[in-house]
Structures are given as structure tokens and as C-alpha cells.
């Protein structure tokens, strides 16, 4: 049966990972395994450190609070956020890094939570859709999405909003083309893109270019 491992994996963030670099490097195992539905292989670089049959203690910093959890090395951040922490605003859409419904901010940058193992996310600041709220009040990007009707079924919407938030944090005054580029990692099958562009423009204004 599973036992808690005392070995702690090294934090993997804070080394300027890009989505492409991530897939090339650590994520290859997870990506390939996700295709077949398996997540039993850890990434090549860290496989020596983690016992795949053991639970590992991780400390995740989500929306400013720290959470200590026991996780299997193959559990994704998406799975842990939703099914273990009950933060269901972050949605699964493909679990293979194609749709962006699970987008969260890791150290301020939009990342697919389905392509990030929970053990990798240690030591990083994780922001989810819930973290963009001010108490019960909507944040500026959320307000803009509501007012512009930048969604229909709303399922991809938390991911779109988090991606927009990440875009505006790195580029407070994006051009239309930059918005289209910045939002292109998030699919919307209802086809709300045109209203999403308008909402991101409005949100940029509401944030006052900050």
C-alpha cells in the first residue's frame, strides 16, 4: 500500500519554463502517458527521485494560501485542484494540453494545469479563477466577460479569463492582434471569440493599463 515518502522533489518552476520547453522536457512522460490515459510514469529528469507507488507530501501555494497534501507523483495539478481541493472553477477539457480550459497562472504566467504535475507546482504561486475574485466581487476581467457576454455555455470561460489575466499582466495594453495571439491557446466551441476580444480590450481599459 501507499506510504508517505520523505523524499521531496525539487521544485521545477522558477526556471523560466515555456509551454514548448515544458513539453520537450519534463512533460514528455506525462504528455505521452495522458494520450494513453496513463500517468504512471514520472518525467525522465525526476523519475529517479520519486517512487511512483508512494504518496508524496507537497505544499502548494494556491491563491495566496498554502496547502499541504499527499499526492501520487502522476497526479496533475488539475486533478489535485479539482478533486482533492474542491476548486472546480478550473475545468478539464482534454487533459492533453490542447484546449486551455484548465488554464491557471503559475508565477503569473498562463499554464495548462492538465500538463503540470502537482509535484512540479511546489514552490510556485498558483492562481486559479477563484483567486481572481475580490471576496464575492468579480475581478475586472470577470466583469468584462460578463458585460460583453464573452461566453455561451461558460465551461471554457474560467480558463479564458485566467489566460486573459495572464496576458494583461505581461502586456497591459495589448493590440487586437496581440489579444488574438494571447488567447489562441484557449478553445471555445460556442465560438465566443469576437466577444472575448472585446472583453479583453475592456478589461485592459478597466485595469488602467496596469
Amino acid at each position: 500500500m501507499k506510504t508517505e515518502s520523505t523524499k521531496m522533489p525539487a521544485p521545477l518552476s522558477g526556471r523560466g519554463i515555456t509551454r514548448r520547453g515544458f513539453i520537450k522536457g519534463v512533460g514528455t512522460g506525462a504528455a505521452a502517458a495522458a494520450v494513453s490515459g496513463a500517468l504512471s510514469t514520472a518525467g525522465p529528469a525526476e523519475s529517479a527521485l520519486l517512487d511512483s507507488n508512494a504518496m508524496h507530501r507537497v505544499v502548494l501555494k494556491v491563491n495566496g494560501r498554502t496547502h499541504a497534501l499527499l499526492v501520487e507523483p502522476r497526479w496533475t495539478l488539475l486533478f489535485v485542484l479539482r478533486e482533492k481541493m474542491g476548486m472546480t472553477g478550473t475545468k478539464p477539457g482534454c487533459e492533453r494540453g490542447e484546449c486551455g480550459a484548465c488554464t491557471v497562472l503559475i508565477d503569473g504566467l498562463p499554464r495548462y494545469a492538465c500538463m503540470t504535475l502537482a509535484v512540479e507546482a511546489q514552490g510556485s504561486d498558483i492562481t486559479t479563477i477563484e483567486g481572481l475574485m475580490d471576496g464575492e466581487e468579480l475581478g475586472p476581467v470577470q466583469k468584462a466577460f460578463l458585460e460583453k457576454d464573452a461566453f455561451q455555455c461558460g465551461y471554457c470561460t474560467p480558463g479564458q479569463i485566467v489566460a486573459a489575466e495572464g496576458l494583461l499582466r505581461s502586456n497591459p495594453k495589448p493590440s487586437l492582434h496581440e489579444i488574438q495571439q494571447g488567447m489562441s491557446g484557449n478553445l471555445c466551441r460556442c465560438g465566443a471569440y469576437v466577444h472575448i476580444f472585446e472583453a479583453v480590450e475592456d478589461a485592459a481599459k478597466a485595469r488602467g493599463g496596469k
Binding site: 482534454c94 484546449c99 470577470q142 460578463l146 465566443a192
Partner: protein, 780 residues
């Protein structure tokens, strides 16, 4: 006016319509104060904050996770299933298959046309890649998948057929004993086409093909199943909770009252979530076997295989036209496939040919065949975008050859009646002419057409404009629908409705109808919906019928509430109800404004605590047809060296009757156009015809749907409201499907205008365009 807290609930003192006498139908709204305005969604907060609980988000105590083992072959027979290893694996609580006791009920595949085929839940004869073979419940999804991989299945692999164009060849493998025809070809004929062609000044004949499309809604198909003794509750991502309830109750042999289906939020369906799925029954059986609730959602790959598609179409169209543009004959045939079971493989593909334009002589024939692939399901305007791909490109080709402006040619052939229906009944309203004229004007059609005519362009990058029209063969809605409205003592309201809001804004429109009738702010209307345990019966949200079906019932319920309220107030004021009006939350006498009561001051209401009003959807007008109409216009830029096409702008002019909510109306228009761009440019299910017969692009990387980089930022919505007073008491017609019908054909016509190339096969990928351009250069 004194200021009380009650004012907070009112809509700025706007008047509300007068209450009809008991038994009278309300007349059309003459003026509206809420309806038609752009109103943000009443459930928008939940959707943008992440607090909306979709079925995928449900987490129950002691919940297990399910996973399904599916047949990897397009055609095989399951000889044995060995689950002995899987059962002993960590966390595994249950394994079911066709070889476990009591877990293989009958399953009937049926088309909407009524053709049925009885199989089993785990049918040993697997007729498509992705048929379920076994299912597991475990403490984590990872453990469930580990166990699925540990199940040993021995298959007898059988010869497969995955190319519908070869289905009727003599030696084609048979999908069913009866052969590969689903039934006799569907035939339709009016007039005499050979006479029509003889009369024509110009006859063109062309073939058209559209690729198979997949729905791929963002929320995966699946549910959470939980038993309390013999009572089953399902949280299901669905367009119709009552339809799922019926299907699951039938499969499990349970009374309807023992099956509760909840689906208040759902993440898109587009027709693929209209009925019960095998996954519902598997989740219920696993939950029973394990005595735990089970969450069972498909993986994205599974949804590509087993949750429906828009069938591929292979079409031939011959058209005859007079010099003046009057159509004389249309002769159409189509071969399509709904996959391995009866699933309407060609349904409605011919409808536009039969009914969009006035034409005395029309013949159609459609052949639906079986192949070893996943069964089709209705996909956003089933049949219509495919038919538009053929008809609307043909109209463009006729206009070119005559020559005549494409808009003019269509205006020449506007029908006044539905010719395809027996007795040619009239429409309650037809805005086709207005869609064409107002759309062309707003788009700047004539100027753009002239400016971009081929001869004036130099260099490899060419621009062009194109347009197409359409209608949706239903979209009027109809009974049954029951709505209950409760008016509380402070004037706020609860609305109870069975229908789902599949993202189209149904709930918001209904709150606006209540607001219009009772003068209550839309956001103070609490809505409970899409729950078979608590809400009223409703048919699934599909067919663009939710607003024209539910809104009149909501209006009727609100009027009933108002009638009771005025009766109470009349007794308290010593007046007759007919002497009273409700305005801005105040009930007052017509003749003596001093005699008045606020809703919160009506004593009888205070005593009872609530007024309950029940509303029903009345019948549709007899002998008339309610259809929405559409015309769309676009501009494209084609790089003739690389085959890349950029869509620069789009305009949709739509007659869907009264605009209920301008904000969500426009969202549907841009959404429909976006999905149509997918059909035109990128979407294509690829089956490995030559070798394995398996689907080779069952993911969003290889099956491309439009992204933010594939749509123009300029999309204009021009509503055309013909003032329909007959369709129903709100004057609204369906919108969700007509908005995607003309899109792909409009893009193809624009590409033709830009390049001179008529692309008759979808999608118009750069590879396809390059090949066609190269072939043209060779010939030229």
C-alpha cells in the same frame, strides 16, 4: 413618491402589458421595456466566477471514478474478457462487462426518423472503434485506468468498412446482416424535372462533398451516478434532463419516479447531448456494483469516437435557370452515413434544395448507408449546412454563368410558401428578402463585389466577397411546456422550468419575459431548471426551439400570476379587477390613481405567502409554418501561393422573429458563424481507409476547430424582425441553428470570387487549395 425598499425590485416604473381576460390569449407585445434590450445573463456571475457547478464539478462523499475499456478495432467480436487481475488491483471497487452478472442490459440505437436497432450495453459484436467492452470503478481515475489496462480481452477481428462511398459495392464487408443500406433511399419529387430542365436557358451540374464533423463540446460527456437504495440520481451534462431520465429508466427497468436527472449547468452539446448515453447506464451499474457514487466522464479521445458527428455528405446537384434568373428545376442526390447504427445519416440534407427557393420542379434522393464508425447525432442544424454547401455554391455558379449578381438571383426566387410541405402552407413570417437586402446594404455588398472583381487584383494575394442564404426547417417550437412562477410577498419571483440553458441564454430570456410582464428586475427572478426531481417537464433544448417554446409558457404563467394579484388587490380596494393596472410594482385604479397598492401591501398575498401561476405553451398556428431565415456575407483573402485563407469580416442578417435579448442574440450569431468557419476551413474526421479503419485524428490537435486566430474580429449581426404576430405570443423564432447554416457556403463563394476556384469539397485546407490552384495553373 415615497421611497421604500420595495422599489429596489422594480424596473424603473415602466408600464407592463395589460392582463388579458381569463381564457384569452395575450396579444403581441406592442411596446417592450425589457425584451429586446441587451441584458447580461442572470447566471453570468456563476459562469465567470467559477462557482457554477457543472456535472463534471460534482464531488460526492465516498465517490469513485470510472473508466471505460473500449474496442480498439472498427469491427470485432469479443470472445472473452478476463478481469481477474483488474479486480485485485489497488483501489478497484467494481468491474462490469458483458461477461459479468446482471450488467448487460439491452440498448437500443434509434434514429430520429424512428429506425431502431437492438443491441446490448456491452455488445460482443463491436461495430465501431470505441464500442464499450468493460468499465471499472476505483478510488482514483488513475487506478481505474490502471485496471482498464489490466483487463485482457480476446477479440476476433473482422473485416471492416469505413468508406461510405464503397458501402454499396458488391464485396464490401457487411455492417449488418441486412446489408449496408439503412433503408430504402428517401425520395421526394414535385413537378417534372425533365420538363424544368427543358425549359431552362442554362443548366449546370456539379458534385459537392462535405467532411464528417465532430461536435466536441468543451464539457466532456458523462455523469455522476448515485444510488439511495433503489433511487438513482444522475448529474448529467445534457441538453435534456427528461430525455435522459426516460432513456436510463428504460434501460434499467426503473420507474421514472426512481430516476432523477440534474443538469442545471452544462458545458455545450450542439446536439450530441440530447438523449441518454451508454455512459449513464454504465455509471449507474458501476455505482450499484460498488455501492458508492461514481463519477464517469469520457476522455476527450472517447468523445471523438462515440458521442456523435455530423455525417459526411456526397452530393450531386443539377440546376436549371431562365435568363431572368427564375429557377426551373433542381435535381439532387446524396449519399451519407450515420455510422454503424441507424442515425439519420442523410436526414434533412435535401431540405434547402426542396424549400429555400421558389422552384416548381424538384427531385431529391438520399441514400443512407452503414459503415463501421461511431453513430451520428444531430449536429447544429442537422443536414442544413451540407445542403447549403451544395445549393448556395450552385446559386453562385448560376449567377456567374448568367451573369447576374448573386444576391439578385436569390431575390428573384423568394418563396412565399413552404413548397416542400403537403399543400404548400404559408409561413407566419418570412424575412428572407429583408435578410438579403438589409444584409447586402449593411455589408456594402455591391461596392465590395465591384471593387474586388478578379481583373482588378494583382499579385498572389487575392481578396473576394461571398454570400449565402438559408432557412431552418423548424424553429417555431411548440407544446408541451409547463412553467410555474411563484410571486413572493415582496414582489420578487421564482421561475420553475424544465428546460436546459445550453449556453444560449435561455434562463436570461425567461427572466426578461417575467420582467416584462410583472415589472420585476430580471436579476430578481430566481430560476430553478433542468432537474427532473423539481422542475416541470420539458423536451430537450435542441432544434432552436427553447425560446419559442418556453417564452410563451413563461408569459402565460406571469399573466396568471398578475391575474390573481389583481383579483386580490381588487377585493382589498373595493374595485373590479378589470379597473386595475399593474405598473412599476404598484397596482392602481385606471380612473382614480389615488386608489393604489404596492405588491408588498396586498394583504391576501402577505397572508398566503405566495401566488403560484402556471403557464402552458399553447398550440402553434394551424396550417402555417414557422421558420427562421438567414443571409450571411463575408470577405476573404487567399494567398494563391500557399493556399492559406484568411477570413477578414463576416456579417449575419437573421430573421429569427423578435429579438428577445440583443446581447445573447449577437453571441449566438457570432458563435454560429464561428462554427460554420470550422466546417468551411478545418474540420474533418479522418478514418484510416486503407489500413486499420481507425480514426487517426481523435484529438483537438489533429482535428482542428476554430481558434481565436481563425475568426475575423469584425462580425456584424443585423437582426431582421418581421413582426411575426402568429408564430407564438412572443413573436420569437429559433436562432441557434440558422446562424450556422449559410456560413461555410458563404466562405466558399468568397474564395471563388477571390480566386476563380470553385472548391466543392470541405474543408478548404491550404493543402486542398494548393492542389486545386496547381491543377488550374497546369490546365490554364
Amino acid at each position: 413618491m415615497e421611497k421604500g425598499p420595495v422599489q429596489y425590485y422594480e424596473t424603473h416604473g415602466d408600464p407592463v402589458p395589460e392582463t388579458p381576460l381569463p381564457g384569452d390569449q395575450p396579444g403581441p407585445w406592442l411596446e417592450t421595456s425589457v425584451i429586446g434590450k441587451p441584458v447580461p445573463r442572470v447566471d453570468g456571475y456563476e459562469r465567470v466566477s467559477g462557482t457554477a457547478v457543472y456535472p463534471s464539478d460534482v464531488i460526492l462523499p465516498n465517490m469513485l471514478y470510472g473508466a471505460i475499456l473500449r474496442c480498439p478495432h472498427p469491427h470485432a467480436r469479443v470472445k472473452a474478457v478476463d478481469d481477474s487481475t483488474a479486480r485485485g488491483m489497488p483501489g478497484v471497487h467494481g468491474v462490469i462487462s458483458g461477461f459479468t452478472e446482471g450488467t448487460n442490459p439491452d440498448w437500443v440505437y434509434s434514429s430520429f426518423a424512428g429506425v431502431e436497432f437492438a443491441t446490448k450495453l456491452f455488445d460482443p459484436h463491436c461495430r465501431f472503434e470505441g464500442e464499450p467492452v468493460a468499465a471499472v470503478a476505483a478510488e482514483s481515475p488513475h487506478q481505474a485506468w490502471d485496471a482498464v489496462r489490466a483487463i485482457r480481452v480476446s477479440y476476433e477481428i473482422l473485416p471492416h468498412l469505413v468508406d461510405e462511398r464503397k458501402a454499396l459495392e458488391a464485396h464490401a464487408p457487411r455492417v449488418h446482416d441486412q446489408g449496408n443500406r439503412v433503408g430504402e433511399p428517401a425520395r421526394y419529387e414535385r413537378g417534372d424535372v425533365s420538363y424544368g430542365f427543358a425549359e431552362a436557358d442554362l443548366v449546370l451540374e456539379m458534385t459537392f462533398n462535405t467532411a464528417c464533423e465532430l461536435h466536441t463540446p468543451m464539457e466532456l460527456h458523462g455523469c455522476v451516478a448515485s444510488w439511495d437504495g433503489d433511487r438513482l440520481t444522475l448529474w448529467e451534462s445534457t441538453q435534456g434532463v427528461f430525455s435522459v431520465q426516460a432513456g436510463v429508466a428504460k434501460a434499467l427497468g426503473l420507474p421514472l419516479s426512481k430516476v432523477r436527472v440534474i443538469g442545471s449547468y452544462m458545458g455545450g452539446g450542439f446536439g450530441s447531448k440530447l438523449r441518454a448515453n451508454k455512459v449513464n447506464v454504465m455509471a449507474a451499474l458501476l455505482a450499484r456494483a460498488a455501492a458508492h457514487p461514481v463519477k464517469l466522464f469520457l476522455t476527450r479521445e472517447e468523445t471523438f469516437l462515440a458521442t456523435g458527428n455530423r455525417p459526411p455528405s456526397h452530393m450531386k446537384l443539377k440546376a436549371g435557370v431562365k435568363k431572368d434568373g427564375a429557377l426551373t428545376a433542381l435535381d439532387f442526390s446524396c449519399v451519407g452515413t450515420g455510422g454503424a447504427y441507424p442515425a439519420d445519416g442523410t436526414a434533412l440534407v435535401d431540405w434547402l434544395i426542396r424549400d429555400l427557393y421558389a422552384c416548381p420542379n424538384v427531385r431529391t434522393e438520399m441514400t443512407d448507408v452503414f459503415i463501421h464508425a461511431g453513430p451520428a447525432r444531430p449536429m447544429r442544424a442537422p443536414g442544413h449546412p451540407q445542403g447549403a454547401w451544395a445549393l448556395e455554391q450552385m446559386m453562385d455558379a448560376l449567377a456567374d454563368a448568367l451573369p447576374m449578381d448573386p444576391v439578385e438571383l436569390r431575390l428573384k426566387n423568394i418563396p412565399l410558401v413552404s413548397q416542400a410541405r403537403p399543400g404548400s402552407p404559408p409561413y407566419t413570417s418570412t424575412g428572407l428578402r429583408e435578410c438579403l437586402e438589409e444584409g447586402a446594404r449593411a455589408f456594402g455588398w455591391k461596392e465590395a463585389r465591384e471593387k474586388l472583381c478578379g481583373a482588378k487584383q494583382q499579385g498572389p494575394v487575392r481578396r473576394g466577397v461571398g454570400m449565402a442564404a438559408g432557412l431552418w426547417f423548424v424553429g417555431g417550437g411548440g407544446p408541451p411546456s409547463t412553467i410555474i412562477i411563484k410571486l413572493f410577498t415582496d414582489g420578487s419571483v421564482n421561475l420553475n422550468m424544465g428546460a436546459s440553458d445550453i449556453g444560449t441564454g435561455t434562463k436570461t430570456v425567461m427572466a426578461m419575459v417575467v420582467s416584462e410582464e410583472l415589472g420585476i428586475r430580471p436579476d430578481l427572478v430566481q430560476i430553478e431548471n433542468a432537474d427532473t426531481g423539481t422542475a416541470q417537464y420539458a423536451t430537450p433544448s435542441g432544434g432552436s426551439k427553447s425560446v419559442p417554446t418556453e417564452a410563451p409558457a413563461v408569459r402565460a404563467a406571469a399573466i396568471e400570476v398578475k391575474r390573481q394579484l389583481l383579483e386580490m388587490a381588487a377585493a382589498e380596494l373595493g374595485l373590479e379587477p378589470s379597473q386595475l393596472v399593474l405598473k412599476g410594482g404598484v397596482i392602481s385604479s385606471r380612473s382614480d390613481p389615488a386608489a393604489s397598492l404596492r405588491i408588498s401591501e396586498v394583504k391576501e398575498l402577505g397572508k398566503r405567502g405566495v401566488i403560484v401561476g402556471v403557464g402552458y405553451r399553447g398550440p402553434n398556428p394551424e396550417g402555417k409554418v414557422v421558420n427562421p431565415f438567414a443571409a450571411q456575407f463575408c470577405e476573404v483573402e487567399v494567398n494563391t501561393r500557399t493556399g492559406e485563407t484568411r477570413i477578414l469580416r463576416f456579417l449575419g442578417a437573421h430573421d429569427s422573429g423578435r429579438v428577445m435579448n440583443r446581447l445573447t442574440y449577437d453571441s449566438q450569431v457570432i458563435g454560429g458563424i464561428t462554427m460554420g468557419i470550422g466546417l468551411a476551413m478545418t474540420e474533418e474526421r479522418v478514418l484510416d481507409h486503407g489500413q486499420t479503419g481507425k480514426m487517426v485524428n481523435k484529438n483537438w490537435h489533429d482535428y482542428k476547430i476554430p481558434t481565436s486566430l481563425d475568426v475575423p474580429a469584425e462580425m456584424v449581426s443585423i437582426p431582421v424582425d418581421p413582426g411575426d404576430v402568429e408564430a407564438n405570443t412572443t413573436g420569437a423564432k429559433g436562432l441557434g441553428e440558422p446562424v450556422t447554416i449559410p456560413t461555410a457556403a458563404a466562405v466558399a463563394n468568397a474564395v471563388c470570387h477571390a480566386t476563380g476556384l470553385r472548391v466543392t469539397e470541405s474543408p478548404m485546407s491550404p493543402v486542398r487549395l494548393c492542389a486545386l490552384l496547381a491543377a488550374e495553373r497546369k490546365e490554364g
